[in-house]
């Protein structure tokens, strides 16, 4: 479904991704494990196309020059140069790091903004599905998103990405700053949405422990390069992973 070939991204002279290649097959949950500054967010931004927007903005104001090499193939089509909004129409939806919600709008309004591309009935259906995935959100429908707790904001963020009806859902650190209990709820929800609506998921995370049991396959990223890959159980039993990413 998604194929990333030999991706290199430079932020001015700093190399963020160094020849990274990976593959996501239809219906899978793929994990991307890596520590800080490994290049997870850069990969997410590149796949979702946000980096094209960043590049133009930086170029205009004479800031950092961003260079991207390599290509991204989605459903057999090269989308390396496709604009981010076009990629959303093709079905690639990113939920960015750190609760990317509209803090001044209510929960319902947040969903409605996200569902701009879809018809009203579709949005209502998906919203019902999202509310079954995240029951706590039902009570908070009319509250301003900025006043939700961290976990609720993350649920809202994933829900918002859902309302766009993605084929490939990119989740950038969905468990960031959540308690173990909340993490479990979010993980369960991600597994649920993958099982029930068949959405392919690519998610990145720093800690391997909550993520590895749920994923079909996972890649380990270090300094912009892939160091390990394998199925969830394989990586679970890998001593290096245990030492580095289990956070014991």
């Amino acid at each position: 479904m998604l194929e990333v070939n030999n991706l290199m991204v430079f932020f001015e002279n700093a190399l963020a991704l160094n020849g990274l290649s990976l593959e996501v097959r239809e219906g899978e949950i793929v994990g991307l494990i890596g520590s800080n500054s490994a290049g997870k967010t850069t990969l997410m931004n590149t796949v979702s196309g946000l980096i094209i927007d960043m590049k133009i903005k930086e170029m205009r104001k004479g800031g950092q020059r961003i260079t991207v090499y390599g290509n991204i193939i989605y459903d057999g089509e090269d989308i390396t140069e496709t604009a981010p909004n076009q990629r959303v129409k093709k079905g690639i939806v990113l939920s960015r790091e750190r609760h990317p919600i509209f803090p001044e709008s209510s929960v319902m309004e947040n969903f409605k903004i996200a569902g701009y591309l879809r018809s009203k009935t579709e949005v209502r259906e998906t919203m019902d599905f999202v509310f079954t995935l995240f029951p706590p959100l039902v009570k908070l429908k009319n509250r301003k998103a900025g006043f939700l707790s961290g976990g609720e904001q993350q649920m809202l963020a994933i829900g918002r990405a859902m309302v766009v009806r993605p084929k490939l859902l990119l989740l950038d650190e969905p468990l960031l700053g959540l308690s173990p209990l909340m993490q479990k709820a979010v993980v369960d929800a991600i597994v649920n949405l993958n099982r029930e609506s068949g959405i392919t998921v690519l998610l990145s995370e720093q800690f391997a422990r909550p993520v590895l049991p749920m994923v079909d396959r996972a890649y380990v990223v270090e300094n912009g390069m892939l160091t390990l890959s394998g199925t969830g159980p394989e990586l679970m039993n890998n001593p290096e992973i245990k030492a580095a990413y289990f956070g014991v």
Binding site: F10, N13, R60, K61, G62, G63, R65, T67, Y69
Partner: protein, 334 residues
């Protein structure tokens, strides 16, 4: 083989950032040139230029001061649309002192600068807690309000204004006074923005809550920044009062609010030097375009738009980057 453009510091920049700067003339000139250029330029220009352009130079310097004052406020997170308030209050302070009590310009100008700064700070004290567009709106409205108050109550000469101010002794005193002040303000406040104090001000515009968390009362710092910016603006107003020998309602005109912003944006906000450079480009250009009559504003507007679209970082940032860094093509390994 794939290539990409690399941007790195010039060798001379790296060498001249520490004590090795003293090792050769080339490094010393590299360091001194950007500082000497504006000083020599400002001091030489009045001698070189004719009478008409000397007058233009006065208003260039005034707009440069207003642009610096706007930039300092913008650095503190307060985007002002009312530089005319500072200008006008300073102008009226000097005018009233000179007209009613006959105080000499050498006393009225500094007094008006300080008092004008204080009065502007008092005016804006209630809206200090507002951020963004709300603060801008209030600063835009106050000068317009003051004009109407003067018109309605006929204080300070009403619509006719006050005339017959004492002029400054000679045109050379005039021009070197404003040039001296411009250079002092430019270099001192640039130094201030680089100091720890300036970092606090910049921090307020970046993330005010984090500044509060550092145990700093941001409102007190905002008041100080407002006073500094107000004083600079009030000084230029007081100075112009004595140059025109007149003060009246036109001192609150919108030009004094808009042109400084344009100058700061074209020159490059955040550096003060950019604001000055912008004023030195825009004001003479608007004078030079006078030959086009009605089309002048159109051409001026087109120039501004082209500039903002093509070079949004501002001229100063661009020149600075080219001065310190160079670019070359390098091969991407793999």
């Amino acid at each position: 083989m794939k290539k990409r453009k690399e941007r790195i510091d010039r060798g001379i920049k790296v060498r001249s950032t520490d004590i090795f700067a003293l090792s050769s003339w080339r490094e010393m000139i590299y360091l001194a040139l950007p500082r000497l250029l504006p000083i020599v330029g400002c001091l030489m220009l009045p001698i070189v230029l004719g009478v008409y352009w000397q007058k233009v130079l006065l208003s260039v310097a005034v707009f440069a001061l207003l642009a610096i004052s706007w930039d300092i406020l913008a650095q503190t997170g307060m985007v002002s649309l009312g530089q005319a308030l500072f200008f006008g209050v300073g102008a009226y302070c000097a005018g009233v002192l000179n007209h009613y009590w006959g105080v000499s310009p050498f006393i009225t100008i500094p007094v008006a600068a300080i008092a004008g700064g204080l009065i502007c700070t008092l005016f804006l004290l209630p809206v200090l807690r507002l951020r963004g567009i709300y603060f801008s709106m209030v600063t835009l409205i106050i000068p317009i309000m003051l004009v109407r108050i003067i018109e309605a109550t006929k204080i300070f000469g009403g619509t006719e204004g006050l005339s017959g101010m004492t002029p400054l002794p000679s045109k050379w005193v005039e021009i070197y006074l404003i040039m001296g002040v411009l250079l002092t303000v430019l270099f001192c406040f640039r130094r201030m923005l680089d100091s720890d104090y300036g970092l606090v001000l910049k921090g307020i515009s970046d993330n005010d809550r984090s500044v509060i968390n550092a145990g700093i009362n941001i409102y007190w710092f905002k008041v100080q920044s407002l006073f500094i910016a107000g004083s600079i603006g009030a000084f230029s107003g007081a100075f112009m009062t004595h140059v025109y020998m007149f003060v009246g309602m036109p001192v609150f005109v919108l030009d004094y609010s808009i042109l400084p912003i344009a100058a700061a944006v074209v020159g490059g906000p955040g550096t003060l030097a950019g604001a000055t450079l912008g004023a030195f480009l825009l004001v003479p250009m608007s004078e030079a375009l006078r030959g086009f009559g009605g089309l002048r504003i159109v051409l001026y507007g087109v120039f501004l738009v082209v500039f903002i679209v093509a070079l949004p970082e501002g001229i100063f940032h661009y020149i600075q980057r080219k001065y310190h860094q160079f670019e070359r093509w390098v091969e991407v390994e793999k």
